[in-house]
Symmetry: D2
Subunit: 331 residues, 4 copies
Amino acid sequence: MFVKTDETKVLRDPIHGYIYVQYEVIWRCINSRWMQRLRRIRQLGGAFMVYHAADHTRFQHSLGCYEVVRRMVTEVPDLEKALSEKEKVTVMLAALLHDVGHGPYSHTFESVSPISHEEYTCRIIEQDPELRGILDSTEPGLARDVADVIRHKSENPILPQLLSSQLDADRMDYLLRDAYFTGTKYGEFDMERILRVMHVRGDRVVVKESGVYAVENYIMARYHMYWQVYYHPVARSYETLVRIFFLRLQDLAAAGQLVETIPEFQPVARQQVMDLDTYFRLDEYACMYGFANLRHCPDPFWLTWPEGSATGISLTTKRTHLRMSNGSGAS
Amino acid sequence: MFVKTDETKVLRDPIHGYIYVQYEVIWRCINSRWMQRLRRIRQLGGAFMVYHAADHTRFQHSLGCYEVVRRMVTEVPDLEKALSEKEKVTVMLAALLHDVGHGPYSHTFESVSPISHEEYTCRIIEQDPELRGILDSTEPGLARDVADVIRHKSENPILPQLLSSQLDADRMDYLLRDAYFTGTKYGEFDMERILRVMHVRGDRVVVKESGVYAVENYIMARYHMYWQVYYHPVARSYETLVRIFFLRLQDLAAAGQLVETIPEFQPVARQQVMDLDTYFRLDEYACMYGFANLRHCPDPFWLTWPEGSATGISLTTKRTHLRMSNGSGAS
Amino acid sequence: MFVKTDETKVLRDPIHGYIYVQYEVIWRCINSRWMQRLRRIRQLGGAFMVYHAADHTRFQHSLGCYEVVRRMVTEVPDLEKALSEKEKVTVMLAALLHDVGHGPYSHTFESVSPISHEEYTCRIIEQDPELRGILDSTEPGLARDVADVIRHKSENPILPQLLSSQLDADRMDYLLRDAYFTGTKYGEFDMERILRVMHVRGDRVVVKESGVYAVENYIMARYHMYWQVYYHPVARSYETLVRIFFLRLQDLAAAGQLVETIPEFQPVARQQVMDLDTYFRLDEYACMYGFANLRHCPDPFWLTWPEGSATGISLTTKRTHLRMSNGSGAS
Amino acid sequence: MFVKTDETKVLRDPIHGYIYVQYEVIWRCINSRWMQRLRRIRQLGGAFMVYHAADHTRFQHSLGCYEVVRRMVTEVPDLEKALSEKEKVTVMLAALLHDVGHGPYSHTFESVSPISHEEYTCRIIEQDPELRGILDSTEPGLARDVADVIRHKSENPILPQLLSSQLDADRMDYLLRDAYFTGTKYGEFDMERILRVMHVRGDRVVVKESGVYAVENYIMARYHMYWQVYYHPVARSYETLVRIFFLRLQDLAAAGQLVETIPEFQPVARQQVMDLDTYFRLDEYACMYGFANLRHCPDPFWLTWPEGSATGISLTTKRTHLRMSNGSGAS
């Protein structure tokens, strides 16, 4: 039984106008500590070093992704009819929670972690007492059903397609959102029209032929965002630096020279799968504080940096990083 | 001698389109560590708890404020003529650096600090080796001239008016920016028109009578932003909680029970004016990490919280805060 | 019985994104000749002479007004519950058709006409064979019910309030639309929020106290649009000139000197209530063609114009008008 | 000698914010009767029948095109340096006046006219007493220099490229403007960035390699606007109907059966090059009035229309047109 909230809750959002919440279980998940932790993880890794306004977090993207799925299952007639209330709530929850396992700097951290962020996401949904409690007390087995959407193992193959395919709620929200917060126009496309041309045929989500321009437009938006924002050399350099920092901690640990810094770094240095309590605390705020403390570290790595090293990152860039600078230099 | 950059540098900005930098000294200040530190201080204290997209920082606002002043001194004919190149560069620098002394959570921190953020700002400009070096090597005495604009003690009384008066670059940028990032429309007004109607009469910046509607519009925008965003009860509650945390640290220190937490909290607890090195590190990332660590603190204050206390903040709110949640509940 | 369209029809609209049509009767009225005639009557009289992009017509405003009412009766819970399907369709139709009786240059023409545009509107709805046919074949008496909403004589007093009160669909659409097409920002306000705070108490439409800022914002938008756009001296001068042209035709007719021009001007000159067929043809296209033909008119009025006349309109303005110029001079 | 206006004149524009006029000769041309006539010719032929808000005219597009060229020659450093003041004013004038020879329904009329709209444009600039007077009294030979830019015969080959090439001011304005007024998002691209990457190499206008994404984006915008707006079947059907009306007049004239209608149609029916005075009056207002009068015409063509005729336009569409309806049916 999916209890409705007393009245529809609304959250003001620059991309969607408002985000609407009508189910208690959604509202309680938004207020859970793991969701709130996403307020401390930026959406775009190092892109804020180029696009100085790109401070937006995975928290707001998760809300946005939820809202796109909510509109799909209520406004696309084929979906509205094809899905049961339980399936609708399940896929909305999956959209809301799909990024809950992201570590600091998202994909950068993932590259030095023994398990993927999706794996962490599923563990958190199924094992965190608070989240699992909210879900399973609403409907037994719901936590697993939600995780199954993220794992692409739902009984109904429509559900994962809404969240993750070529034309999905995740990408639709992040392209629009990243365009808005970077201040570029490359990521804009006509989501209203795409929602209007979505249909279901068999177990596939498809679009009407007359919607081909809206879809082309979306694909071009994606292409341009990749080249202008996601692959921007300054953004990638920043992420590479963060990665090298983690790798150095791992090298030192492997050599028995564990650096004294914040405790949350220890399992990273030891390349361990983290227990959820420590992982919870390892947000970007902790990392930044931890990196700043490395200035006291006797390891020569942190003091000198080989000019023209294999990483291609020059001393200037590194110094820049250590003081968190680098200018927000779009050229 | 104010050296120009090789070519005009531009930074993409969602509010102003682009931010233009034409002087070396401006560019070097943007890249200074104190400016970059503002990337770790949010513009809006606790408003992000209500408006979930309001993650924007004082760094981007400072760039925006600079850009508005740059446009004033190049596009308003009276100002373009009345000011020397040195005065123009000085006031642009003052706009860029005017918030550099903000502590974490801005005005919240200020309320538990023995000196104001403006005082810190002037100290940083005049005493930080890097910043002072950039300024005084450009022109001897420039650091002091810049600080004097912020102190409202410039020789030319026009300069401080551009930055801080009833109709100034600081407010113009933050109203537009806060409206954009909260997703409200209350803060929008016609800045282009205001720039067009600005004039200088004697030593005062005035507006042409025909611009009265644009100014009224701006004043209404201000009024609405205060009630809808800056004074929002959830935002203020969050800030009150942060304040109470600092006050409790001070109470315990006064009672000789210094809590073991991050070292940057110690001078706050002792109510000392901080040396600039410690103040530099006390950004919101450090605070958040420090607050999270208080969960180990034996002080009963952090474990229990009197329901219906004098602060008017209920246990729920407090728990919420300790886990960084609270929902982004615009109603 | 209100037949639904096969699928929801949508019209792309810059203000509302899309305009949705779900009832056959609405769709057929949109396609009626009287509605289509509104494509040939500008929304803003003479404002396009100042704001050169303000070419928008009463046709698009009528669609927009309909859309706002449609959203009210489907999205405001109190209205959704309080009104029957018939009442909903009736008030949507009234919104769509409320301006159908406007003459050329709207209020300007009205000032030289023996009856008001509302009176023409009601006659057209109740007497035009096509429109009345569409309405009454859908439900006997519907034409009258629709006209009664416009006459503020509905059985249910809620209906006219949605269309015409202090906070109504008509104004909400035109403020947003006129701001968009003039390129000013003065008319913007948060319609989404106003829809969210609307309630019904007894037989009155009211707003929740927490929505007071959105309403204030709307009132200020109205105020500023009046001063910046609707009362702009150049716009009013243009309208005054058009009025004087009509008055001169009437003076000449009264003196038995009927000017030879387009036949549609004859009943205007004779101050007659026009039959609907002639009124149909008297759109702004016909008027403009008719005015242009007055260049052959021997009446000295059209050839010389007293400088500094009682009208306060100088020779320059008049010449300007005669050649349709005047510059689009916002200053 | 190019006299400046007393102060910069500004016109509010939804696309460019403001349009700036600094030269007397520009201002006087804007106020000329031929420029003002463009207020009575829509920018988009029949597209307003699909996109109900697309009522914008060639007048506003001409101002916008002028503004883009003005920005090019003042803000693009290579152009600012390479061109003399005279060349700058000349190309700004060419941008302002480049569409002045458009007939009603633009390309539709052109298809039944013995000479092109460019040919009319050059004749008007070089022969109209008012326009030629404004230009040649400013600088002898200026009218011809302006027309030469439009004819692609300028001495300096840079000038025509700014107005008409693959990446020109004309297209930049109309893509942005048509997107704004149709309410689609397909035509948006980053003009600011394109202006920033424009350079001059030899006698060619080129773009910096790093600007390739902005240019790609613009090309995609163009592509999408063609398919979604300019080639929309309803828009093209409307234009085809207008064309057939003109052709029928010509057929009847060839058969010696000249239809009695407005005198401005006679030279069209006789396939004559029109004298400028008649051409001046043949705007869309005159045409629409003329078409409406054909309802009295005894020619069976106007009364019956063969279903499934070679034109592919069905009876429904035709009836629709005759009453100026057709619904603004985007599907």
